[in-house]
Amino acid sequence: MMELLITVFSATFFVTIIRTTTPLLLATLGGLIADLGGALNVALEGMMLIGCLTAVIVSVYAPWYVAVAAGLGAGALLGLIMAFFAFRLKADIILVGFAINILAAGGTVFALAIATGGDKGTSINLQSKAVPAVDLSFLSAIPGIGPVLKSFLSGHSVLSWLAAFLVFAVWYFLYRTPWGLWLRGVGEYPAAPEAAGIPVNKIRTLSLVVSGALAGLGGAQLAMFNYVGFTRDMTAGRGFIALGAVLLGARHPVGALLAALLFGAFEALAVVMPGLFNDIPAELIRMIPFVVTIAALVLFSIRAQRALALRGVK
């Protein structure tokens, strides 16, 4: 037990959490934008996966930032495709989402095989690049807390810092700019913005494009930092967990951050636990994030009910 506590409160564990959280957080923000615009984006998983592959392939030929942008662009393009089918061709958006996931699972392997000349499993024959870590070693020069600061803050991915900034940016966009107002209006009651002359379908389309872009960015982080390279199905359900995180985070950017951190922490914990407790079955450890989501969901709901009950409504 002591060992676990020491691990959990160590700087390396913190750094691990940030690393596991970042792709999730980016996808969660993407899910949030789509959700507030009134579309449940079940395609986050596929968008992330295609983001991963695009970033990896492009990084072979271009600097890392171009590759990251390409991952982002691939996600955005998928968002556009999704919007086209859902809004223009009036297809069911959940079905479109599932279709994109299927497309991504098969398409990435197919494209990988073309890019590597036949490899269907991993991209290890491609010399892909990594997103650089931000080195804040100079912090250790600060007397006293310097070394601690350094060990906690240094070494995170550029995209981790970007993700943290994006939480703020998304919040500012949603609650301080006119376009955020439009987006929330479109999601909550489309008839109102429609009557106000706001192009509702354009807003919805853009929200899916941005949603896809953020998921693609999450994919870039996953395939250019968490692990450098691509393997089939490497997102391993993170897109669906992000979907849960959106709802768990009460559809608010700060909530999204907390929910993503929660899942990130459990992913990190699941990684360190078998090293510490060899006898806990791996299946049970892997179950933790899902059990926690349900527990949190139920607790949230109980709290909401109790708040109503306190006021004598129920």
Partner: protein, 514 residues
């Protein structure tokens, strides 16, 4: 010279419904122009065409004598036309000012300039005498205020011509008066108003000229000064109508329902009913008078079992109803006509027949051993369709394909197909045309005459005065006045109590409280 002119407008909906068929409309600048007609006459369709939501199949629009064509609302807005829909287009969780500026926000850099938006909304609201607080979320406001927000929205976009589609249907009399004050102030400041309503006295009061529509065609345009309520009604319907109900004197005997010490708290935590006591006897109609949001709707819902009560006792047919479910209360002979037929009175995706038995799924005539008796259900529907003259293809048609008036008839038919002991009625004729109104009124009084105890709530004072035997005025969840309905009781008298300007003493109320 006409400001806005529609010539020979034709509109056929994709399903083949001819909603407009050579409609003409001439609007002079600075007037209040009313458009009247029965349900489905094509009024809303015409307005949607003027506002660019629907595209006409035929005809032309002239604005300032120049031909115009609006392919979307934005173009109409830019041309100076504003429209307030029958169903509001407001985002409930947004504040008033956010709703008003939505789509044309004042900006500071990329930020929405909150202060400026609030100031502008405040200024507009002062200028046109449309009092509303810019800050609270719109969802928390009463309908009357929501409507002002809608009007402010149009004015904020510099509308010269303001279309109001059935604005008074949801308003209390005082609110109607406030709306009229605002309309007059709009006109005084150079705006033009197109006004749609089913209540002819209102039309006669506010408008300068009137266009009458019937079955997708314009029957004619008249100066308001030159018509009476009666002649107008005849123009609309094509025959004489009278809106009077003959009420037999009641002989009240048995107490059917009583409520004591009722307290209700809403989801936002505010107390909406604050210690209410009332009794209803067999064979009488008790009217609940009040500006919307003073606890009438909640009281009716609580009696029906649809709403949790914080305190108090409800007795129906000598039984403590508090622990009883909706169905058990219905079993005691309770029937209820809800306020919003689409939201809670009907399942629009289900068939007419299914809607007509929805409240009787424990009845062995239609359900035996958990199995549906489809024959009986269909026969029941056919019988009721005939008895209540519902215009519908057949028992198997989806309710969603019916007009508003016919939908309301389905609700009434279901609730009154069997003689109820206690009938709860909320806004029975909202948005319903003259013919249907007359029919529904007669049905309700028939039920009373056969011994039902009726609790009636309505935003329409003339409806309350026409139907009720006793009237209870609610203000902030309490009864502040009670009257026996006598010919000398006027809307004005009720109005002072409705607005909380005065309160009767317990002695004064005594006679009408029983």
């Amino acid at each position: 010279m006409a400001l806005l002119e529609a010539i020979g407008i034709g509109k056929t909906y994709p399903g083949g419904v001819v909603a407009n068929d050579g409609v003409n409309l001439v609007i002079e600048p600075g007037e209040v122009h009313a458009v009247v007609g029965e349900n489905g006459a094509g009024k809303s369709t015409l307005m949607k065409i003027l506002f660019g939501i629907e595209q006409p199949n035929a005809g032309t629009l002239l604005l300032d004598n120049r031909q115009v064509h609006f392919s979307k609302p934005r173009e109409a807005i830019d041309a100076g036309i504003g429209m307030v829909f029958q169903h509001f287009s407001l985002v409930p969780s947004f504040s008033v000012y956010e709703n008003v500026v939505l789509g044309s926000e004042p900006r500071a850099g990329i930020r929405l300039d909150r202060q400026k938006a609030i100031a502008e909304v405040q200024a507009l609201s002062d200028k046109f005498r449309l009092k509303v607080d810019p800050l609270p979320p719109v969802g928390s406001l009463p309908v009357g205020q929501q409507q002002r927000v809608e009007i402010l929205k149009a004015l904020y976009r510099n509308a010269r011509i303001l279309i109001l589609d059935e604005p008074t249907a949801v308003l209390a009399p005082q609110e109607v008066q406030e709306l009229f004050v605002a309309i007059r102030s709009l006109v005084a400041q150079g705006k033009t108003v197109i006004f749609i309503a089913h209540k002819l006295p209102e039309v006669l009061e506010i408008s300068n000229s009137i266009t009458v529509m019937r079955q997708g065609k314009t029957v004619g345009q008249v100066k308001t000064k030159e018509v009476t309520e009666k002649s107008l009604a005849a123009m609309m319907v094509g025959r004489e109508v009278s809106l009077r109900v003959e009420r037999k004197p009641t002989e009240q005997t048995e107490r059917v329902a009583s409520v004591s010490g009722l307290r209700i708290v809403n989801a936002r935590g505010t107390e909406v009913v604050a210690g209410l006591d009332l009794n209803v006897y067999a064979g009488e109609i008790v009217g609940l008078v009040g500006v919307e949001g003073n606890g009438q709707a909640e009281t009716l819902e609580a009696i029906a079992g649809l709403r949790q009560v914080a305190a108090g006792d409800i007795v129906v047919a000598n039984q403590n109803a508090n622990p009883l479910s909706v169905l058990q209360r219905r079993g005691l002979g309770l029937a209820s006509i809800p306020e919003d037929r689409i939201a809670e009175g009907l399942s629009t995706g289900s068939t007419v027949a299914e809607n007509l038995v929805a409240t009787r799924l424990n009845d062995s005539r239609y359900v035996r051993g958990g199995l549906l008796d489809l024959k009986a259900i269909k026969a029941n529907a056919q019988k009721l369709i005939e008895r209540f003259s519902i215009r519908v293809g057949g028992p198997g048609s989806a309710v969603g394909t019916l007009s508003g008036g016919n939908m309301q008839k389905v609700v009434v038919a279901r609730e009154l197909s069997e003689q109820p002991k206690l009938l709860l009625v909320n806004q029975p004729t909202r948005g319903v045309d003259l013919g249907a109104t007359q029919f529904i009124w007669r049905t309700i009084t028939d039920a009373r005459d056969k011994g039902a105890a009726v609790l009636l709530s309505s935003a329409d004072l003339s409806e309350l005065l026409a139907l009720s035997d006793r009237l209870l005025v609610l203000y902030r969840g309490k009864i502040v006045a009670a009257f026996l309905n006598t010919p000398d009781l006027t809307p004005e008298t009720l109005g002072t109590y409705m607005l909380g300007l005065s309160t009767q003493t317990a002695d004064e109320m005594q006679a009408a409280l029983k």
